[in-house]
Amino acid sequence: MTVVAEPGARRGHRHAARAAWEEEPGPLGKAAKAVLVTAIVLAVLFPLYVVVLTSLSPQEAITRAGGLVLVPDGFSLAAYQEILSGGVVTRSVLVSTGVTLVGTLFSTTLTILAAYGLSRRDSYAHRPLLFLVLLTFLFGPGLIPTYLTVQAFGLLDSYASLILPTAVAAFNLIVLRSFFMNIPQEIMDSARIDGASEFRILGTIVLPLSKAVTAVIALFYGVGYWNAFFNAFLFLDDNRKWPLQLILRTYVLEGIPIPGAGPTDTVAGGPVPTLAVKMAVVVIAVLPVLLVYPFVQKHFTKGVIIGAVKG
């Protein structure tokens, strides 16, 4: 694995000074750059700001604004109370949380084990097995055969169908394996001579040395499971098993009422979501990502991921 220097740290600890030979840009160039950078940052952050603000606004403020609230105008948690007090959205949050926790644990465990199992250059049959892993990059099995396979295993409409088909990401496996291979072999050899089993070496030597990369891979799996839409869309008919992303699509994007979506569910079709409720669902869908983002970000800038593909 080629470890790439942190992209942001090109000039190291030197102060933000221009090199002597570098000409000062004109005022117009400087202004253009500032405007451009501000516009880019706003393009990302503005929608998030509006969504969060609207979800926290009372209904009167939304009516006054005629839609999304751009300027703070009152504060209300009513939307969150409505969706989190039982009902379809609450259930989908629980489903997504459960699938994310179990899936991440499962995927990370399998990936660590296989990455270590394939990390010794001279081990038995590691070449054909590695080839099997790498080949998955080149040719996907296709949607229809995958659907039929899941169906044949009797996994349609099961939570397992949200985890098993995409449990092992070859990319993560290869990244982790490259990392393991860079750990000095002498440490492991001496443990082997002392009679340590492979499982013990993995647990007491290799893993403690690879905490950061393992954490990043777990977080990547976690974000993947939380965001997963495809498997649930394809394999789940029963909307009581839907994860949050499917609720987000039906309830918020398409605005279709779902039976049992709110506590006030007396109408046959369920309540039509108000704008504040919609935005609250969006916020709940982004929140976990925003929470783990600083941890992921801290590590991927260090080039843990880049360059490992060719390892």
């Binding site: 992209p7 949607l143 229809i144 039929l148 992303q245 969006v282």
Partner: protein, 336 residues
């Protein structure tokens, strides 16, 4: 592995040349390799045990479905099953190639790929050059953190945000209405759909795509810039003659990967907007396969479409990589 086998082969070959396995303790080379293999198996079985679960998952959900592609050559019926459905040769493909809806999906896919190559592909490069030109490390890190973020959002979320900003009841159109202007139709207009998906793609992933270019930029020898400046090269000439050459290998690599993926433009993004925009503009190969197969239940036919896409995609990857080798670039994989 290599060292082991060559080590055993060398003395073995000698023994072979000197005649049959002598009376000594040295067994025939083949036998010795077998013994060696058995020894390694005895030593390495814990490693194999560790690898097994992941390989099982890949086997069950990647390689088994891969075999399932035979339904493309069958008159498949779910009630009869894969094993007993009759083979019909290339009938499904014949029907596929005569279907205007299939060609519509293929053309849409290629059109979107071409459009994105022109208008999406350069964005991360420009973004990286912009960020790299910022002097303050703190500002640079802040911008990186901000623009990487949307990569970690799901497509449902991204499209919901776009709908809230640009949709019929969204922020842009309520603003236009308040100003007494005519609202513009962005989210449901088939004619501008390609612009919309490209904008969504840029918003979500252009920042993330920048990482690899920033990494390449960080490897440029700073003395080259100084030398060029001393030789009288201005800002733009330095960018052309020093910066860009450093980016070329990465650009070629990503270009190959994108070309190899010419037939996939993403599934969720299109599926989610197909209802609003209509199939004419938004049907791509992946959604076509989904609707024909899972929705209409025509599994064999959709399987044929999927297999066609897979095989052509594979050929494109191999072809693009070949071209890269001819150009003297390393490509996605090399023949080491």
């Amino acid at each position: 592995m290599d060292t082991d086998t060559t080590a055993t082969r060398a003395p073995g070959a000698e023994a072979e040349r000197s005649g049959a396995p002598g009376p000594g303790p040295s067994p025939s080379p083949r036998e010795r390799r077998r013994v060696d293999r058995r020894r390694r198996l005895r030593r390495d079985w814990p490693l194999l045990l560790m690898t097994a679960p992941a390989i099982l998952v890949l086997g069950a959900f990647h390689y088994l479905p891969l075999l399932g592609n035979v339904i493309a050559f069958q008159d498949y019926s779910p009630f009869v099953g894969i094993l007993n459905s009759p083979f019909v040769g290339f009938d499904n493909f014949q029907r596929l190639f005569g279907d205007p809806a299939f060609w519509n999906a293929t053309l849409n896919t290629l059109y979107i790929t071409a459009f994105q190559l022109l208008f999406y592909f350069p964005v991360p490069i420009l973004l990286a050059l912009l960020v790299n030109s910022l002097l303050s490390a703190r500002v640079r890190l802040f911008i990186q953190s901000v623009v990487y973020l949307p990569h970690f959002f799901s497509w449902v979320l991204v499209i919901t945000l776009f709908q809230q900003m640009l949709g019929g009841a969204g922020a842009l159109n309520s603003f236009l209405r308040q100003q007494g202007l005519t609202p513009i139709d962005v989210m449901t207009n088939p004619d501008t759909f390609v612009l919309l998906v490209t904008a969504e793609g840029i918003w979500k992933d252009a920042g993330w795509g920048m990482i690899i270019f920033l990494a390449a930029l960080s490897t440029v020898n700073q003395n080259l810039y100084e030398a060029a400046a001393v030789d009288g090269a201005g800002r733009w000439r330095r960018m052309w003659h020093v910066t860009l050459p450093a980016l070329v290998p990465v650009i070629v690599l990503l270009l190959i990967m994108r070309l190899g993926d010419a037939l996939s433009v993403g599934f969720e993004q299109f599926l989610l907007q197909r209802g609003a925009v209509g199939a004419d503009a938004s049907e791509v190969l992946d959604t076509y396969v989904y609707y024909e197969g899972v929705v209409n239940g025509d599994f064999a036919y959709a399987g044929a479409a999927g297999l066609f896409k897979g095989v052509v995609g594979l050929l494109l990857v191999l072809g693009a990589n070949k071209v890269a080798h001819l150009l003297g670039e390393e490509g996605v994989y090399s023949r080491r």
